[in-house]
Subunit: 223 residues, 2 copies
Amino acid sequence: MFVNVNAHPGSKPKALGELGQLSRARIILSEFKYDRGTEIYGQDEPAEYIYQVIEGAVRSHKLLSDGRRQIGAFHLNGDIFGLENGAEHRFTAEAIVDTTVRLTKRCSLEHVAESDAQVALDLLSMTTSNLQHAEDHMLLLGRKTSLERVAAFLLEMDRRLSAAGVMALPMCRRDIADYLGLTLETVSRALSQLHSKGILGFLGQTQRQIVLRDRERLADLDL
Amino acid sequence: MFVNVNAHPGSKPKALGELGQLSRARIILSEFKYDRGTEIYGQDEPAEYIYQVIEGAVRSHKLLSDGRRQIGAFHLNGDIFGLENGAEHRFTAEAIVDTTVRLTKRCSLEHVAESDAQVALDLLSMTTSNLQHAEDHMLLLGRKTSLERVAAFLLEMDRRLSAAGVMALPMCRRDIADYLGLTLETVSRALSQLHSKGILGFLGQTQRQIVLRDRERLADLDL
DNA sequence: CGGTGGGTTGAGGTATTTCAAGGCTCGTGG
DNA sequence: CCACGAGCCTTGAAATACCTCAACCCACCG
């Protein structure tokens, strides 16, 4: 089921630091690959593992019974996800593109945390980061206009995955929409609007590579 | 500044259990009262204390620069709030009604957690509860209709503060609206609609005491 | 008694959704 | 090599859920 690969020094130092500490605690790390579009775990499944993105991108979402979807977070290079306190996952996680993750058994980690305060504090710190993101996202979802949401999204992605001033979005418009609580058409219109105002530009013909031409005016839209 | 009162056995066993454990760790607890409408702490202020509601109700909110407000949570009897990992509060907290809180210094708690894994795990558990609530709330704010939001709100409040089948809401319509990402008029209309359908009833003339007459049909609205 | 702070309700406006059409890219198979 | 369909994105037009503005009611209180 799981392919064991030699763990190689990761690409994103910050979050790796966190899992690095866990690694110090002698927890088994292995790597695994998921094809684009496949489910990594489902909502309400027992949370057996926690994950770190080595390469690729993952989305975590909840569904309403009639299919409406809310994406709670995107997990990019170096991010840790799947960390739940209870026994079950509270989101469904899917690979957005072909993705490599590093994973470790949740129970062994939990066991270590019971005696090692430092590990427990690491877990707390990770959970707090997630909480902070969720809190900010509630404000966005509850009170921001579509343009403000898209602007905030672009700034977040710029911060998290921009290389050389250009960001290559791994996710499609529908994913962005379900993250921002909008429809894909509204997201598309907002992007077009920002484009026509010269605030951003598209590279290539896929519309997924975006360069921010006027970060200042974009930030003005992010209240 | 702070009035020290004898800590008496609290009213809500569950959350008290948590602070109870912290108490075991020899952390100073004192009580303090806030008048209705007063600020307990402000966003971006240093997080000196953490709090537990003994009596009353508190709202935590974020503001956009133009005054739009999003309430992230209501804190009712027994709830712990003001727990931040960073040095600063991420919300403004205000007493909705006259409120008594128990409080303890954050730094001393943090200090204990550094060596005591059990305390650190308690903090983790509390943070995880907050995270879980925020995750569910993102789904509500991003994807539910006004009627579904109000139904979910009523069920949440019913669960958290219903006594003898009737809930006495401490907060006004505007607070509910800012919690649900709606306007107060929309909340009022949704409640009227549920009232006219016989799903809920009002007691007294303040419109703040609500009795759920058909929890089944209300739950149908909560997808 | 008048003012203030809630709450409800109606009418009209609007941001966003819904529905629909069309274009572009890319992979696959003839 | 080209045709074709699928997936993704954009754009327009119409529908609608929610917001805004406004009037009114009621309870409370100095």
